[in-house]
Structures are given as C-alpha cells and as structure tokens.
C-alpha cells in the first residue's frame, strides 16, 4: 500500500466538502438553497437521500450553482456523462466560475481536450490569467491547459502555457507536484532532450521517489547517448515502482504521462 500512498492521498480532496456559510446570502431563496446544500453533503454521495435534498435545494433556488455542481459529481464518477453534463452546464450558466470545474472534469474523466481547453481558457480570461486549481488539488489549471494543447498536437502552445505557469509559480514557490514531469515529457515528445533532462531532474528534486520520473529520465538519457545513465535510471524506476518508492495511481482515472510496470519492463528488455 505504501507504493500508492503518495498520490492516493492527494486525490481525495475531491471528496472532502466544506459546509457553506449560508449567512452570506441575503435573499431567502439562496439562503434556503444553501442550507439544503449543507444537509445534502452530509448524506452519502450519490445516495437517493443526498440527491433528493440537492433537488430540493435547486428547487428553492434554480441558480444555486454549488448544488447543481455537487449533484452532478456522482454521475461523473460513475460514468453517466450525459446527466453530469446537464447539471454541470446549468452550474456554469448560473456561475461561470464553474468553468474551471467543468474544464477539469472534461480533461480528467473524458479526455475531451478541445472542450476542456475552451472552458479553461474562458476561466483564464475571466480571472485575469488565473483559472484556479484542479478538483483534486494536484494542478494549477494552466498546466491542464498546456496538457490539453499537447494532446491536441499543439506543442508550442503547450510549452507556452507550461512556461507561463511554472515561471509564475517558481516565483511564488508553489510549483505543482507533477509540473516539471509533464513539461519534461512534453519536451521529450518535441525531441528537445536537453530541456527534457533539465525538467526531469528538477522533478526528482520536487518528488524524489516517483518511479515515473526515472522512467522518462532513462529514456531521455538514451536519446542523449548517455546509455549507462539511461540504464541506471530505468532500473531505479523499477526498484522504486516495486519496492521503495511511489508511482502515479489515481483512484478514479489514469493520469496523463502515468507509467506502468509493463512500460518499464519493456524499456529494460529492449536494452538486451
């Protein structure tokens, strides 16, 4: 279990909900909707009890976005994307700040890079270049914008968003846990192997025992003709994966640039 803990724990903020302070609402409809929201989140997520209270909340105030958003979540997690989208669209219509949430979910659960980017770009524009953080807390959403662009094949635009976000967060000393890894992998895909190496080495300082990074480091060293270091890093990736380290393993979805043991073994086998 130790192997999973590093990332597993980080993924659960998605489930942790705080009670809203309903006294901030001045009108009776919002206040009532808010109180019902607070009751709904106390019941088990996705249960009939919880969903009915959310419906009551929405009935009290049809534009109460927190209830629309929260009611949508179990549909998303359980693969009913049509119902999720209906609720989420209404949340966004009621409060455009939910563009960030919808964009993140389109990226994570549906790999809908085009629509995810559109939402996040709108959130970026509305919020003066700061679209917020992902639901699981792992990402500044500018990183997700970069990944969306990369997956659509727009590498230059991807690097632009990576650089903007990382440079900004380096100044604030809040660089994300996987930011250098993703930019490094992107540079690798662009065949900029020296830039990839620089980022992947930075990632090892950020997250010392992440097997995924050493796998990509190994591949990068081979491209730079540093075969001995390449082999060392692949073996280290395997050792970390199996014994003393961590690997990416989100409980909901496969992460982008996630490495499997089969990838590491395949790379090691190709050396022989």
């Amino acid at each position: 279990m130790k192997k999973l803990a590093g990332v597993f724990v980080l993924s659960f903020p998605f489930l942790v909900l705080a009670q809203n302070n309903c006294s901030v609402y001045k009108d009776a409809a919002h206040k009532k909707a808010c109180e019902l929201y607070n009751r709904a989140i106390e019941a088990s997520q996705g249960s009939k009890t919880s969903q009915i209270i959310f419906l009551n909340s929405i009935e009290a105030c049809p534009s109460f976005a927190p209830s629309l958003n929260e009611m949508s979540v179990p549909y998303l997690k359980r693969g009913d994307f049509s119902t999720w989208k209906v609720l989420m669209d209404q949340a966004v219509k009621a409060d455009p700040q939910y563009l960030s949430t919808r964009g993140w979910c389109l990226f994570k659960f549906l790999r809908d890079y085009k629509n995810s980017f559109q939402d996040l770009k709108r959130a970026y524009d509305i919020n003066s270049g700061i679209p917020g953080y992902s639901g699981d807390g792992d990402y500044d959403l500018r990183i997700v914008m970069a990944l969306n662009q990369r997956e659509m094949g727009n590498y230059n635009l991807a690097i632009k968003y990576f650089n903007e976000c990382i440079q900004d967060n380096e100044k604030k000393k809040v660089v994300g846990l996987f930011d250098y890894l993703h930019r490094g992998v992107t540079e690798y895909k662009c065949k900029n192997y020296q830039a990839a190496l620089n980022d992947l080495l930075l990632e090892t300082k950020k997250y010392e025992k992440l097997a995924d990074t050493y796998y990509y480091l190994g591949l990068t060293y081979f491209k730079l003709k540093l075969n001995r270091k390449g082999k060392q890093n692949l073996l280290k990736a395997k050792e970390l994966y199996l014994h003393s380290g961590y690997y990416r393993n989100d409980p909901y979805c496969e992460a982008l640039d996630q490495v499997y043991l089969s990838d590491i073994n395949k790379a090691i086998r190709s050396l022989k």
Partner: protein, 174 residues
Amino acid sequence: MPIKNCFFIFVLIIFIQSTLLAQNKIPKAEKLQEDVGDIKFDPKIDKADFYLCHKDFIIQYYNFGTSYNGGGRGIKDFIYKRYHYDSAYKLATGFITIRFVINCKGQTDRFRLSEIDNHYHPTTFDNGLKRQLLKICKALNQWIPGKDSKGNIYDSYYYINFKLVKGQILNITP
C-alpha cells in the same frame, strides 16, 4: 410554400425542440435510484447465478481500488488488440460507456451500455459496434476485486468509456 410543407416543418421544429428540452433537464426525484449508477438484476439479460458477496452493498471501483491485471494499460491493450473497425461504424462519434459489476471473485456481469454524441446528448450508434464493444468488455477476465485495509473483499461497479471518432477508438477511460 404549400401549407402541407409548412405544417411538416412546424411539426419537425416542435419535435427537435422537445427532444432538446428532454435532453437538458435535471433528473426528477421519482426517477432517482437508491444510489446513482445502481444496476438492478434483469432476468432477461443477466446471469441468474452471478454470485455477489454482498447483494445489497456493491461499492464503486474507486472506493477500494478495484482494478485489472496490468492496470488501465492492461485493459487498453486487451481492447485495442481485439477491436476491429468496420465502415458501418463511420458515423459513430461520441462516447459509449459500458457499466457492469465485478464480483468479489473477479467475475463480471450486469453489463449496461449507454451512448452519447460528442455534445453529450443521448444518441444511437451502429448495433454491430455496440455488440462488438460489449463482447470485448465481457471477455476481460483478469479483474482484481476491491479490498479494504482489513482484507475484506467487495463486489463493485466499474465502467469502461470509449471515446469514438468516426468509429475509431480515440481513447478509453478511466
């Protein structure tokens, strides 16, 4: 324009509007299940002898790490190796989601399929395509049931979502 044609267009507009409205409504209280995503036993399509450790308590795959041998990569490799494109699928752009139960022994049943277009509206894809994807999902046979920290093993729900573009599988989640 003849009156007959005007009437036809009028009916068509009403039909399209009512379809769109139907697609854009939030769930009704009377239609809610005990838990979102529950799959009830259907004797017409489900195995009567499908064993469940806890008949009334089926968890979600993400609760206690229900997985597949080789993880998501194992599932994808299995599917991509077996999927065969057919020109009859060329209009299929959107998502097909297959949800099912993995029991405490790692066996599967209660498969349900849903289909939406790339605007997330319900749609209908080619039957052959749906049959093929269902057959492949049913053939996946290396499931690892969910287990809590005390070693209790659970039945769980899982889904496989296919992102399709013109009948080709562009991505598989989760």
